[in-house]
């Protein structure tokens, strides 16, 4: 089939690996935002995605293996974006966030995790010694 005749579709997978260093987080969030912009997300939703991906990368930098790599996979499905962020370290458990106390001063370490949960529609977290930490975040196009 002539590739030019393939029906226009928004589905697809984009993979990106960045060094686990602070200066690369902006690249990750902008790349994922560019992928998200191919779906019907609003500007606000794309901003939510950017921040959640950046928080996941920051978490990987702070708790992942030193001098490691962060692997990011974005799967654009029908009406949703599934983003997976993987690193080789053992990040903090996402389930430890106390949402009622997140605004209290001195609890800044929980803010990033809280923001990911608040901004994305679904968050799944796994961490083990062999595979490291994997965070799967889903954002759906609002009705």
């Amino acid at each position: 089939m002539n590739p030019l005749e393939v029906p226009n579709t928004t589905s697809g997978i984009v993979r990106l690996s960045i060094p686990a260093r602070a200066e690369w987080v902006a690249v990750a969030r902008l790349a994922v935002a560019a992928v998200a912009s191919r779906q019907r997300f609003s500007i606000d939703e794309i901003e939510d995605i950017k921040l959640a991906i950046a928080e996941a990368c920051t978490n990987a930098i702070q708790h992942g293996a030193p001098d490691g790599t962060i692997d990011i996979e974005c799967e654009l499905r029908d009406e949703e974006l599934v983003t997976t962020v993987r690193d080789r370290g053992l990040g903090p458990r996402l389930g430890t966030v106390n949402e009622e106390r997140i605004g209290e001063m001195g609890r800044t370490e929980e803010l990033g995790v809280f923001l990911i949960r608040a901004l994305m529609d679904s968050v799944d977290y796994t961490s083990d010694v062999r595979d490291g930490t994997q965070l799967v975040m889903i954002k759906r196009v609002s009705a």
Binding site: A22, E23, D44, E47, M105, G106, L111, L115
Partner: protein, 114 residues
């Protein structure tokens, strides 16, 4: 991506920190250094102007919270100027609107310090 930090003296003993750009894990140390320097010089009433900030993440929020904690130890305060809806939303969902004064303009932010 970068952040520009401009510090200027204002009314009374208050100082204004104008920030332009994006505050994230890479740029937030520069913001922290500016706020820390002001506090070390015993300036405890600060207006942090986020009007030209396009993006802030948890590390940026952490810097602002850290600054507020330090100035409060000396009876001071921090007021924020912010009209960007996306950034205001972040302060809202994290509950930080309860601990920061967030204003639409510098004059109002300055008045709240008094």
């Amino acid at each position: 991506m970068d952040i520009k930090v401009n510090v200027r003296e204002s009314e009374g003993d208050a100082y204004v920190v104008d920030l332009t750009g994006e505050i994230d894990v890479y740029t937030s140390p520069k913001v922290k250094d500016a706020i820390t320097e002001l506090i070390d010089q015993e300036h405890y009433n600060l207006v942090i102007n986020l009007e030209k900030v396009r993006y802030i993440d948890s590390t940026g929020l952490g810097v602002l919270i850290g600054g507020l904690k330090r100035v409060r130890e000396h009876g001071g305060s921090v007021s924020l100027v912010c009209t960007n809806p996306q950034i205001k939303k972040i302060f809202d969902i994290t509950g930080l609107v309860k601990i920061f004064g967030i204003f639409d303009d510098e004059q109002s932010a300055m008045k709240a310090l008094a």
